[in-house]
Amino acid sequence: MSLNVLEKADLHMHTSASDGTDSPSEIIELVKEEGIGLFSVTDHDTIQGCRMVISARSSSDPHFLTGVEFSCRDEGGKYHILGYGYDVDAGPIHELVEATHVLRLEQFGERIKAITKEYGFYFSEENLRELYSHEEPGKPHLGNMMARLGYAKSKDDAILNYLNKVKIHSKYIRPEDAIQGILRSGGIPVLAHPVYGSGEELYMGEDMEMRLRHLLELGIQGVEAYYSAFTMPMQELMLDLADKYRLYVTAGSDYHGTNKLILLGDTNLERISDAHPGFRRFLNAVSDRIY
């Protein structure tokens, strides 16, 4: 593996396997166009996209590292935990993905129950069979069906005015389960966009450190200190904490295709060679797992 350190690295992006808009093979092309030398696909709770990238990728394409992003929760709050460099055939990572899938199916069932109860919509056996025939049934599928059945004007109307209105108790795996599953699959667990919590919070200063210490006890090994939506003070805070606790550092954009305004390759790290030592330590640790 020969990495060009003058190139960019973007280790956080989503494909259509989760909530991105680009297919895995489209992502490879975009990464190439963007001049990114090393990339990872980190779909939510699935490694399907990674498998497809590995099979679609040719040897001259940019280097690739397996990735995944698990949504977790415990008494301390919600976390997004990235896993890098795991073996796609390892059992524990598959068990994790399966566990999240089961949780989502349960949640989906609860949502159907909730809108049935709240608004009196009726879904026939056949309707339900159709919904569950999808690999990952979700609000868009249900919304489409509601529009078709005349319960809503459109998919968006269904989501906005019905599906989002009912309170569903979201189900999550615990952070220690995600961390252990990643580790046991040969991967490195990294805390995603730390300052933003699970994406919607804001932890600065001591609040951030407290949270990080909690995850350190659970086995987290790195922080995503280079992140598209970080300001300089945020980045500096995370690099300082990485120094203090001798953590790996990663860089990611959180690109979602046209779903969000994030630009592919925007990590606030221009070149691999400009990175904090924690990022080089990380690359060193995963070097034999880079495609």
């Binding site: 919070e201 003070p233 305004l261 630009l263």
Partner: protein, 529 residues
């Protein structure tokens, strides 16, 4: 309620954010923002956050994304709470974020100053606010801050505003002005301080006028004043207008500072320091422009109705007149009534020009009251134009109409310099005889049968002490020295008429010379003191 609305303007994308922006609506907010940005990629973005109550990290990320694709992002009207979030997270370092303007009321507040563009009120013991007349005054405020800063750098004592606030529908800028008292207030309440006020007021004025401003830093008033003159074209006789314009154009460009609205409400006593406020009219130009606006403030504005001054400055017309005259005398460093009148008349010409224009523009000629006032100003202006030939002045020059009526003024002016130089009485008499002869000569012949002016310049040179007196007129070329000296031995009846005076002048002076240059007769005489 929609949290984000916006419009794409010619030069910017204007986004209004309101309510709560958090993870519940961030995707929708982002969608709306993206649609706006896509209409004009890269165009500067202005976000009005006046109604934004709360922004979560999801909202912050949306703003950060805007910043990634649009170099120039400015957020205005940010509440203190939201500002703290922007500050803590480093957003304030990445883009311009302006706090919402504090709202200040001036109801019942004491008015302490009034300028061309606004009124100044005291809002508490330590602070005053200048409320701008123009509702959309942010640029003016910026301009005034900038010129005040420049003035301070150049050594002019002034107050610089530290905050911009909302006052009703207008904007205000807040200054710290501890226990300040305007000179108007002092003159109104403590008339015994008249002479002290004059001295401080004039000292500061001289300091302003002595300040050289680097080119381009302040507006140049020259063209503006010329445009005032141009406005008058349809309203005064053509010959008078032509003369006015020629004189306005003759005033040279000058890089010295002028305040532009220098009256006693804009000069404040703060502790024992005299401070200048209301800096928005700061400019460069000839000091006659300043004297013109001073004349208007003290006299011109109340010339038709003497009670005007009381409402404006808080003191009466007599006090205004006394203060103006004494200030002008101190400014010109002279007691010579003729000198003071000369400069006053020049100031009045520009002053009337400006007021007539302003009054016509504001009220038109329809209203009886303002028409009567304009008629008075116009009559005075035309009288002055008739006997004035230049609007520039210099402390050691007297510019008068070449008329024998003005002889006493000329002698008085020259005498002032000689007395200051401790000139012996005998020599003084000799000089005065010579001045009389030369001036009468110019008054009688230079322009006859027309009229014109004479300029008498006095310089006292040291080592050896010499009085140098120069006469300049623009009349027909004439060398009075070329004439043969009269034969004084002849009997009075046989002597040629005239010529004797010049002969006496030659006799009594130590040196006398004549030259004709640029259409001017220049006669220079010197007397050892």
């Amino acid at each position: 309620m929609k949290e984000v609305t916006g419009e794409v303007l010619q030069d910017q994308i204007r986004v209004t954010m309101s309510g709560h922006i958090d993870s519940n609506n961030a995707p929708e907010v982002e969608q709306n923002v993206r649609e706006l940005l896509e209409q004009a990629p890269g165009r500067p973005v202005l976000i009005d956050a006046e109604k934004l109550v709360y922004i979560s990290s999801a909202g912050l990320r949306v703003i950060l994304r805007i910043r990634k694709t649009n170099e120039e992002v400015r957020i205005i009207n940010v509440s203190p709470e939201v500002y703290d979030i922007f500050d803590m997270t480093g957003f304030t370092q990445m883009m311009t974020i302006e706090k919402a303007y504090r709202v200040v009321s001036v109801e019942g507040a004491e008015e302490i100053g009034r300028g061309a563009n606004g009124t100044i009120y005291r809002i508490d013991q330590d602070n005053v606010v200048k409320v701008y007349n123009n509702a959309d005054a942010l640029e003016e405020i910026q301009h005034e801050r900038e010129v005040a800063r420049q003035a301070l750098i150049l050594g002019i004592p002034t107050a610089i505003s530290y905050d911009v606030v909302r006052v009703g529908d207008s904007y205000g800028s807040v200054f710290e002005l501890l226990n300040a008292k305007s000179f108007s207030k002092i003159l109104a309440g403590e008339p015994e301080k008249m002479d002290w006020c004059v001295k401080e007021y004039v000292d500061l004025l001289k300091k302003i006028h002595g300040t050289l401003v680097p080119p381009g830093q302040l507006p140049d008033l020259r063209e503006t004043v010329i445009s005032w003159g141009e406005f008058l074209k349809p309203y005064i006789p053509e010959a008078a207008w032509n003369k006015l314009m020629a004189m306005l154009r003759e005033i040279p460009h000058d890089d010295h500072m002028i305040h532009g609205d220098y009256h006693t409400k804009n000069v404040e006593l703060v502790g024992d320091e005299v401070l200048l406020i209301d800096m928005d009219t700061l400019a460069v130009g000839h000091p006659i422009y300043e004297l013109a606006s001073m004349y208007n403030a003290f006299i011109g504005y109340s010339e038709y109705d003497h009670s005007n001054i009381l409402g404006f400055q808080g003191f009466d017309f007599d006090t205004a007149m006394e203060f103006w005259r004494k200030s002008l005398a101190a400014y010109l460093n002279t007691d010579c009534e003729a000198k003071i009148r000369e400069v006053e008349n020049k100031a009045r010409i520009i002053g009337y020009t400006r007021m007539i224009r302003r009054s016509i523009r504001r009220h038109g000629l329809e209203k009886e009251e303002s028409r009567a006032e304009i008629e008075l100003w116009k009559k005075n202006l035309l009288d002055l134009l008739d006997k004035t030939y230049s609007l520039v002045f210099s402390n050691n020059e007297l510019d008068v109409e070449a008329s024998t009526d003005n002889l006493d003024d000329v002698i008085d002016f020259v005498r002032g310099f000689l007395e200051k130089a401790d000139c012996p009485l005998k020599i003084q008499m000799q000089v005065e005889v010579a001045v009389e002869e030369i001036f009468i000569n110019i008054a009688s012949y230079a322009y006859a049968p027309d009229k014109g002016n004479a300029n008498i310049r006095v310089e006292i040179l040291e080592d050896p002490k010499v009085a140098a007196i120069q006469f300049v007129d623009r009349g027909v070329p004439y060398d009075p020295l070329a004439k043969e000296d009269p034969d004084v031995t002849m009997s009075a009846e046989k002597r040629q008429i005239g010529g004797l005076g010049i002969f006496m002048a030659k006799k009594s002076m130590d040196d006398i010379s004549y030259r004709y240059e640029d259409g001017k007769n220049i006669l220079l005489m010197k007397k050892n003191l």
